[in-house]
Symmetry: C2
Subunit: 482 residues, 2 copies
């Protein structure tokens, strides 16, 4: 017991060292452990369940928008990468290679997929002949591999889990629509289920996916003011179709290249959840994805224990019956105080306490993880009260995160201004940009902030490029990023 | 259209060449395609959806029995395999190796997991200290790799999908209970959801999992009389605990090794489904896992088309509303006859036809995939009638498969008898066995049949070993197997 208590105390305060705080939380809340392979982690049950809930919520949305799942091989022949020039340059340095198998040296090296455009492109070329075969709307749930130099649990690991949608269309218009449709699916999912506000926008050319014509992203702000790219959606034009010869006979009897898209989100969303909602007490999980939404803890002296426990079991059964993910912690080897800390640290959105006095008053004490607020609920109508509270917590967490982002967002006219702000503060900075890659590079060099995206819906339109002072072609969100 | 018609006609009859029939069906029913990597396949949406339905049905059962999901790395250091002697001998020849990554040669080769006992054992050693940490009940959904010499779609591929449960317990008794509990979960799942009857039993020592003390299996009979091991559950004793030093401090203050289990089923179940239920018309899918349970096809002359379609859409909406996975095929470029063949080939359990005469009679014609039987249903109460029919088809498919297995099961006293039977017939052969590995090897050498398992509940107890004539220690099911 002493040991576990220390575990909670060990969380470094965010203000002291945000990176250490993050590592402390993901380890102590039991989301992950380091694996004995460079840059790999184990997703422990509480961490993995967050991903499972993301999967369910996303998969439903993918199917509602007409997509089906499929599965393509992990191993990709080296020659495939060489077919798309930008793609190979983007991914080659990060690939792990299988060179031996079944006791023999392979004739051609096989990469562990970093993403599946190439192998899927190859298959689509075989499957698509006529306009009647289009569109192809396929998603894949898979593990992918990128040999990154610096790794960070969930946010950047050698192996991670993700989904990758890959679609092929007869026309540019349809493919562009799909690209934006899936970006909106991501926004809706991340904001609704994860309570994380995001900014939708288009990536600058230097930040595009390797091989894409256009890349769009949703960007989220962490509690240290840094950005995380939470999801991306790419319009590939006919780039991959040309590389893999994906052609179809159109209604007009012309042989044409298809237009393709791809889009993905990954287990880095788990890292986002932690960094957006967590605090010095530990994790804080939005009710919609929390493995445990409610913990019920019996309290009071030993002599009242049996009576309290009997009622606790009743209430537990009632809430569970209603579909609430509730845990009754009636362990005797831990004190209520220890349990309070423990479940706060693990981010359980709502705690219910039940003691002898509550039995008399036909009440339950509820404590919210998001606000710390304590309220007394009647045992009558408890299911509805808890459901309402969970909904309120979900909304409040979104609101708080949005407010935080707004309080940490700035607008600047010049690079000097941006530098000053980013020296003193952390956050997102809106600025005008002429469109020149040199100016963009200068921002990064000076401030370490990168162009996050060109938002669809900026709070203001900036008129001049922050670097060169020429007329701005775009208004861009800049930030330091994970 | 001409082309697609040929596709259906191309299915080789089972009686002519069962292997060719199988390949024809999995390709033409669009379950898979060959990938450009040796022994790998692409799971196309209809094939993958069968796996998704298996996953849902299994995952529910795993969670009901107290298990949680987690995810461990794909890459396993070479040294891990060397810690368990039998394990390394069993798997080493089949491993693909990553030897280069991030532009450098690795110091230690990394295997793509063929199964995860070793890396999970390593992690469990870190997680388990006290009896309070036990049991650990974890399952993983993952891709695994085995560089097999001969491959066959779904049944044996270089990469396949599976789940692997890995549990650790304080006592032998508890671990043995878990091993048998999960075997029963598999039996229930395969018989209830896939309508495939299986034989539960224990593997002979020579057929055990590499590193296990005891291996149990469920065995299914394909339509060519051959066996497929549809699921396995292993009691590892303390073998892996000793190799990976997984010890705990027990209540009695003694440091003890944990007892571990592992259990798995894989995408080979898709191959089983095809080979158990399919026929010369193609695939036949049990309603519980069929991606499309019902197809509704409007028929009749063009002049009645609008009226028929309007009613078809109504009925479609009603059935869909009730949760039935229905497709309305109102495409005009295909004839009803073509569609009938197509959906039979794809294994859709129930076809509904609606024509002008049916409108008059307020009826729908239903055709069962399992029996070919046609019935007339009233449009009133159609939902219930269809639901009942689907339930009946599910049961009938199980009954038919069971009957087939019983008709192709034999009992023999001697190896001669077994040889004669397996020359003329195909199927499972029950025989006595003295327990000597030499006698078991002799059976295989003579008949190519292997010991499938020692059934818990054999139809008879055989008294003598079929090879040596000594008293039988076990009664064993033998069969040729995939």
């Amino acid at each position: 017991m002493a040991e576990e208590k220390e575990v909670v105390k060990e969380i470094t305060p965010q203000s002291e060292d945000f990176s250490r705080w993050y590592i402390d939380v993901v380890r102590k809340a039991d989301l992950m452990d380091y694996a004995p392979v460079r840059g790999c982690i184990v997703f422990k049950p509480d961490g993995y369940e967050l991903w499972e809930r993301c999967q369910q919520a996303l998969d439903r949305r993918f199917k509602e928008t007409g997509h089906r799942n499929a599965y393509f091989p992990t191993l990709i022949p080296e020659s495939f990468f060489e077919k798309e020039k930008e793609h190979v340059e983007g991914f080659n340095p990060e690939l792990p290679w299988v060179t031996e198998a079944g006791g023999e040296k392979l004739e051609e090296r096989l990469a562990l997929r970093p993403t599946s455009e190439t192998i899927i492109g190859y298959m689509y070329a075989r499957w698509i002949q006529s306009y009647r075969d289009l569109p192809i709307l396929i998603n894949q749930w898979a593990n992918v591999f990128r040999w990154e130099k610096r790794t960070l649990p969930f946010l950047r690991t050698t192996e991670f889990l993700w989904q990758e949608g890959h679609t092929a269309h007869a026309t540019e218009e349809e493919a562009r629509e799909e690209t934006l449709r899936m970006l909106e699916v991501y926004r809706d999912f991340v904001e609704t289920e994860l309570a994380i506000p995001v900014i939708k926008g288009q990536k600058t050319p230097s930040e595009k996916f390797a091989g894409a014509v256009e890349t769009y992203s949703i960007e989220a702000m962490m509690k240290d003011g840094k950005a995380v790219q939470a999801g991306t959606s790419h319009y590939m034009g006919t780039n991959f179709a040309r590389s893999f010869d994906i052609k179809f006979l159109d209604r007009d009897n012309q042989l044409k290249y298809v237009h393709t898209t791809s889009w993905g989100v990954s287990t880095r969303l788990i890292g986002c959840l932690v960094m957006v909602h967590g605090d010095d007490r530990g994790l804080a999980l939005p009710p919609k994805v929390a493995p445990t939404q409610v913990v019920l803890i019996p309290i009071g002296p030993a002599k009242a224990r049996e009576e309290v426990l009997a009622r606790a079991r009743e209430l537990y059964a009632r809430l569970r019956e209603a579909g609430i993910r509730i845990r009754l912690d009636d362990r005797e080897e831990y004190t209520p105080g220890w349990k309070f800390n423990e479940y706060e640290m693990r981010g359980v959105p709502l705690r219910l306490e039940l003691g002898p006095r509550d039995l008399q008053n036909h009440a339950v004490v509820a404590a919210r993880r998001d606000t710390g607020e304590k309220l007394t609920l009647s045992q009558d109508g408890l299911v509805e009260a808890v459901q309402n509270l969970l909904a309120e917590i979900q909304q409040n967490m979104f609101k708080k995160a949005l407010q935080f982002r707004e309080e940490h967002s700035y607008q600047v006219e010049t690079l000097d201004e941006m530098s000053r702000i980013l020296e003193e503060k952390t956050g997102f900075v809106l600025a005008g940009w002429c469109g020149d890659a040199g100016c963009e590079a200068k921002v990064k060099e000076t401030t370490k902030a990168t162009a996050r995206n060109i938002p669809f819906d900026p709070p203001a339109r900036m008129s001049r490029c922050l670097v060169c002072g020429q007329p701005a072609r775009h208004t861009v969100w800049f930030a330091r990023a994970y």
